[in-house]
């Protein structure tokens, strides 16, 4: 029983991590007024690029760096169309998703072919923290995870600090609320938004790399399976705060973790209903949380000086 709890917690933390990483990046971009629907596609690109990088160099770290770099490039394209060209953010995001799907499938076929054997690549191994990982029940779950997991949870207070206590964080929040007021005090609204979008791209790339090299150990087509959208939902459910999205991600991740548990436990529930679980939880969460409190006033509205 205790083992069950531990392994469930461990699993939950692992499944929550990519959602959380992506959602933390989204907190910044959404607070600045940009809703990046294309996160799903960006994570997909990160997942593939990470694997390619890791396979080529034999180092998962390089893989992650490649993933982040390429993803940031695509998020720059997203930023260009939404901030400078002022096109509809949802449509640009959807275009990125469709494009990313095509890109990753194509590259996957070209680079890896259609062979069924999966090459061995360097992945994020678990790193047990001495002493702490020996704590009963939670030790194994919290302190025997891979590096990105630790980074993700450390990023939560860091993100809170940046958002609330730094100049750039203040600018970001202001720009998403009342861009005109910011303009009158001399803040460059467009530049600030670009910075936010690039950061969310950074995080999306890292999140995608974790899915392909931390949760699983290779790339399969469509492997992000909606996690990017769950990250978007996590931002709403978490009320646009870093701590909030952490809890939201843990709850959404629990859906996936429960799916594995229940499947293994052979309860007789058809596995498809378990697969539905995280998505159902997300819908319910969105409905509960949508009488917004923290949603930036200028969310998803392109800014023009005219």
């Amino acid at each position: 029983m205790i083992d069950g709890i531990t392994s469930f917690l461990a699993s939950d933390i692992r499944t929550a991590t990519p959602i959380m990483i992506a959602a933390l990046g989204l907190v910044f971009s959404e607070r600045a007024g940009i809703v990046n629907i294309g996160t799903e596609g960006l994570m997909l690109i990160g997942a593939l690029m990470g694997v390619i990088g890791s396979l080529t160099t034999g180092s998962v770290l390089v893989g992650a760096i490649v993933a982040i770099a390429v993803t940031m490039f695509f998020s720059l394209i997203f930023g260009f169309f939404t901030i400078t060209v002022r096109a509809d953010q949802t449509v640009v995001g959807t275009a990125i998703n469709i494009f990313a799907s095509g890109l990753t499938i194509t590259l996957n076929r070209v680079v890896f072919g259609v062979s069924t054997s999966v090459p061995k690549i360097d992945v994020f191994d678990r790193v047990a923290i001495p002493v702490l990982s020996k704590i009963p029940v939670i030790g194994e779950a919290f302190f025997n995870q891979s590096i990105p997991v630790y980074l993700a949870f450390l990023a939560v207070p860091a993100a809170w600090f940046v958002l609330q206590k730094t100049n750039i964080g203040l600018k970001l929040r202001a720009v998403g609320e009342h861009p005109k007021a910011c303009d009158t005090v001399g803040i460059n609204v467009l530049k600030t938004r670009y910075q936010a979008v690039l950061f969310s791209g950074f995080m999306a790339g890292l999140a995608g790399a974790f899915v392909s090299m931390g949760q699983l150990s290779f790339f399969t087509e469509g492997m992000i399976a909606g996690r990017g959208f769950m990250a978007l939902a996590a931002v709403v459910f978490g009320n646009y705060t870093p701590v909030g999205v952490m809890f939201a991600a843990l709850i959404f991740g629990a859906g996936e973790a429960m799916q594995y548990r229940l499947q293994a436990a052979n309860t007789g529930i058809p596995y498809q209903f378990l697969v539905m679980l995280p998505y159902l939880i997300t819908v319910v969460a969105i409905c509960m949380m949508s009488r917004r409190s923290n949603k930036p006033a200028a969310s998803a509205v392109p800014y023009s000086k005219e």
Partner: protein, 501 residues
């Protein structure tokens, strides 16, 4: 040279001259009023000073030196601060965050504590205790306004421009504001006070420059002004003999009765206080007053777009209080809205699709839910002819028409419904002379046909020419109802500025 000199400033927007050879001279340490009606050019002039517009002609001298203010950042650096009518505060952020937003001196990691200390000290100096850690949305409107002033002072403003500051304040908050202004000037700061409220200008200002239709009417020292009435005359111009081609009104039954109507806005401030009047068929009741004194809220209440807090209104003896817009429309009301772009038309639809906006679900426009385009085509062509709407075709997109033509088709659409009650809000705003005269003559025609007309306007000339009776609103209240035959500009001007006998 004075502290601030604006010399021969002219500002043109395409064909409109907003400021025409305006010269303004402000001394250090004084409170200088900028007085004028809507559209006189006050805000435009100050926006030039604050760097939001470039002047078309003219020069600005500050501290005796010629300056070219290219953006607001530069204006702030020069020591000019402006408090707009619509606050540039961010409600979701705290007071101190708003104050230090965008400051060059900010470090990467914000030192909010020492900024808060500095802010608290400054606030105490002006007898204003504001908790720097509270969110701006939790402040009252008066507090927010004084925060805007403090924000400007924190950035070392020497010259403060206040744009209609008392428009959003309660009488008590006005007292607080004036105390603050006096303290500011005693410290050597200079204040430019844009307003149309004569009593306040008499109370707090040292000198006053009156603008009328883009030009300077005069500059006076307040102590030389005997009474507010003199200022009122200066603001609206001399009583000019107007030629009205109107027939005598033949009035009929009561179409609209408003009883003790009260309403509040979303900040729970009262915007309508005990408004009562009666409107008969075949007459034009002009609603007079400077924009923002409750006229638009009253119209919205009557048309079902704004909630009524207390009181009632009756259309043809039926109690319509708080009906939905759809229900209200059924009482044969036509409404020419004040903001035709937002409320009156759909820019990306063509003209005939706009023309059917109010009656698409009635025969012969449609039957059993299917639109009769053949009939609509024909009828739209007729409407365009009747109302003189100049357009290449009825399939032209509404947004492509000139302002005048847009208003004409809104007017045409509404009048075509053969209403019993016509509510026209600023119907000639933004129109050239030809379109204006056209719209006005149609309104008079309606009245001659027996329609009851409620005409809301800021143009005194228009009201004096067209109305049979004139109701003046100030601060959400009815100041008085005057018969057109005995109304004078002076009298109306006084009522508009809140002066009671």
């Amino acid at each position: 040279m004075a502290f601030l000199e604006m010399k021969h400033v002219t500002k043109r927007f395409k064909s409109v001259v907003a400021n025409d050879d305006v010269s303004l001279s402000v001394e250090k340490g004084e409170v200088h009023a900028l007085l004028g009606e809507n559209g006189a050019g006050k805000s435009t002039l100050m926006n030039i000073l604050y760097g939001m517009y470039d002047q078309s002609e003219g020069e600005i001298y500050f501290h005796g030196e010629k300056v070219h203010i290219k953006d607001t950042k530069q204006a702030i650096e020069l020591g000019i601060g402006m408090v707009h009518q619509h606050f540039m505060l961010i409600p979701a952020l705290t007071v101190i965050e708003n104050v230090i937003l965008g400051l060059k001196e900010n470090n990467m990691v914000l030192d909010l504590n020492s900024a808060a200390e500095k802010f608290k000290e400054m606030a105490k100096k002006y007898n204003m205790e504001i908790d720097p850690w509270t969110r701006v949305e939790n402040l009252s409107v008066g507090q927010q306004q004084r925060l805007e002033i403090l924000k400007a002072l924190y950035r070392n403003a020497d010259l403060l421009i206040l744009d209609e500051p008392t428009a959003v304040l309660t009488p008590q908050e006005v007292v607080g504001l004036f105390d603050m202004v006096r303290k500011l000037t005693s410290e050597g700061k200079t204040v430019i006070f844009i307003s149309h409220k004569l009593a306040e200008i008499m109370e707090i200002c040292d000198r006053c420059t009156v603008l009328r239709q883009g030009k300077v009417a005069t500059t006076v020292a307040i102590k030389d002004v005997k009474n507010k009435e003199d200022l009122a005359i200066l603001m609206v111009g001399k009583n000019v003999e107007l030629v009205t081609r109107k027939k005598e009104a033949t009035v009929g039954e009561e179409i609209l009765r408003v009883e003790n109507l009260c309403a509040v806005n979303q900040d729970k401030r009262p915007v309508l206080i005990d408004v009562s009047f009666s409107l008969l068929a075949g007459e034009i009741l002009g609603i007079c007053g400077v924009d923002g004194n409750g006229q638009s809220e009253m119209v919205k209440c009557i048309t079902g777009l704004h909630k009524v807090k207390s009181g009632k209104y009756f259309i043809k003896s039926t109690d319509c209080t708080n009906e939905t817009p759809k229900q209200v429309l059924k009482h044969k009301i036509a409404h020419i809205p004040e903001d035709r772009h937002r409320m009156g038309m759909i820019k990306s639809m063509n003209i005939e699709e706009n023309l059917i906006l109010m009656c698409y679900d009635q025969p012969p426009y449609s039957k059993h839910g299917i639109l009769n385009w053949k009939w609509i085509d024909k009828h739209s062509e007729e409407l365009c002819k009747t109302y003189n709407i100049k357009t290449p075709s009825i399939k032209e997109m509404a947004g492509n028409l000139s302002g005048g033509n847009q208003q004409k088709f809104v007017v045409g659409r509404e009048l075509d419904r053969d209403p019993d009650l016509l509510i026209a809000v600023h119907p000639s705003r933004g129109l050239d002379i030809g379109a204006t005269k056209y719209v006005q003559s149609r309104i008079v025609e309606e009245r001659d046909k027996g329609t009851a007309v409620l005409l809301v306007s800021t143009e005194l000339d228009e009201l004096l020419e067209l109305s049979d009776r004139i109701l003046v609103m100030y601060g959400g209240k009815v100041m008085g109802i005057v018969d057109q035959k005995v109304a004078t500009r002076e009298y109306l001007g006084k009522l508009m500025a809140g002066i009671t006998e």
